[in-house]
């Protein structure tokens, strides 16, 4: 799955997702990616977020919406991402998932839940600070 957030120079934001979902899913199953507030959310007055992982679990908590609402209150993106993950973890300690967050000033962060085989989450960033996209990572 890809989840993407883009801000133009005026602070206008958009978010999107695209996925083929889980392997061997039951036919007809739809994950969190196309669900507003679950797979992604964007509000040019607050920021944007996009999630990835086990959508069957993540969609129950609207983590992207939560992260954006937390950034609206002034929380920094990394903390907002962590809070969104921790809300899910309270109920599903072993869920597989991660989220990226960015606010209106161009600050960004990410968080993930540590499970076997998933200790670090990688994501890409492109802004005016470098000529090429930067690979970033966060420890789960």
């Amino acid at each position: 799955t890809i989840g993407m957030i883009a801000f133009d120079q005026y602070g206008h934001v958009a978010a999107g997702t695209s996925t083929n979902g889980l392997t061997h899913k039951v036919p007809g199953r739809v994950g969190d990616s196309p669900i507003v507030g679950a797979g992604a959310y964007a509000d040019s007055l607050a920021g944007a977020a996009a999630a990835t992982g086990d959508g069957d679990i993540m969609m129950r908590f609207l983590p992207s919406y939560l992260a954006v609402e937390l950034m609206r209150t002034g929380m920094d993106p990394s903390a907002a991402c962590k809070m969104a993950i921790s809300r899910i973890k309270r109920h599903y300690a072993d869920f597989f998932g991660a989220i990226i967050c960015a606010n209106l000033t161009g600050h960004y962060g990410a968080a993930c839940n540590k499970v076997d085989g998933f200790l670090q989450f990688h994501y890409m960033v492109s802004n005016g600070e470098s000529d090429a996209p930067l690979l970033k990572s966060v420890d789960c």
Binding site: A6, H12, A14, G16, T19, V26, G53, A102, N127, L135
Partner: protein, 179 residues
């Protein structure tokens, strides 16, 4: 340190980031950047979890989910369980721009896509067929069924509901298979 414009995306999908960034650099909108970036991943079948030919369902078919959201207008377009159309993010944008709805799903979403000019084609590839074949050979393990007969931890579909409901332990995380 912060600066705008900005593109950020999940996983190590560099070409998608580059594609989105190029749109912004040429004066395109954030919405265009997201659509272009996600479409790049669809075309490149990023890590097998995006686009055609990956993560087949129990019947061996690859189906796609996508969504795009404009943070200025709060408009959204989304598709779920999209079949036979490669450009899911493009169809999601078409839902946003050519309907007053938010999400279309399944066969009807595919018909909508065809009417909007998207080409219908088989999303199966040799790789997805192989994944499906190996799964069948392995008695359809793992799967997401519970409380059905025959026992889904040993047997393939079709299943019927089991009267007595029991808790099924969550499948261990497979980080190659994700939304």
């Amino acid at each position: 340190k912060a600066s705008l414009p900005l593109v950020i995306n999940t996983w190590n999908f560099k070409n998608a980031t580059e594609a989105a960034w190029a749109v912004l650099q040429s004066g395109g909108s954030a919405l265009d950047a997201v659509e272009t970036g996600c479409n790049r991943c669809q075309e490149e079948q990023c890590d097998g979890s995006v686009g055609y030919g990956g993560n087949p369902d129990e019947s061996g078919e690859t189906t796609l989910d996508a969504m795009i959201m404009n943070g200025n207008t709060m408009e959204v377009g989304a598709v779920g369980d999209l079949r036979r159309i490669k450009n899911a993010i493009g169809v999601a944008r078409a839902v946003m721009e050519h309907t007053q709805h938010t999400m279309l799903v399944g066969e009807s979403a595919s018909v909508f896509a065809e009417n909007m000019g998207f080409i219908a084609e088989d999303l199966t590839t040799i790789k997805s067929l192989d994944i499906f074949t190996q799964w069948l050979k392995g008695n359809c393990q793992p799967n997401y069924r519970k409380n059905v007969l025959p026992n889904p931890s040993k047997s393939c579909p079709p299943y019927k509901p089991q009267v007595k409901l029991e808790q099924k332990k969550q499948l261990p995380a497979d980080i190659r298979s994700h939304d």
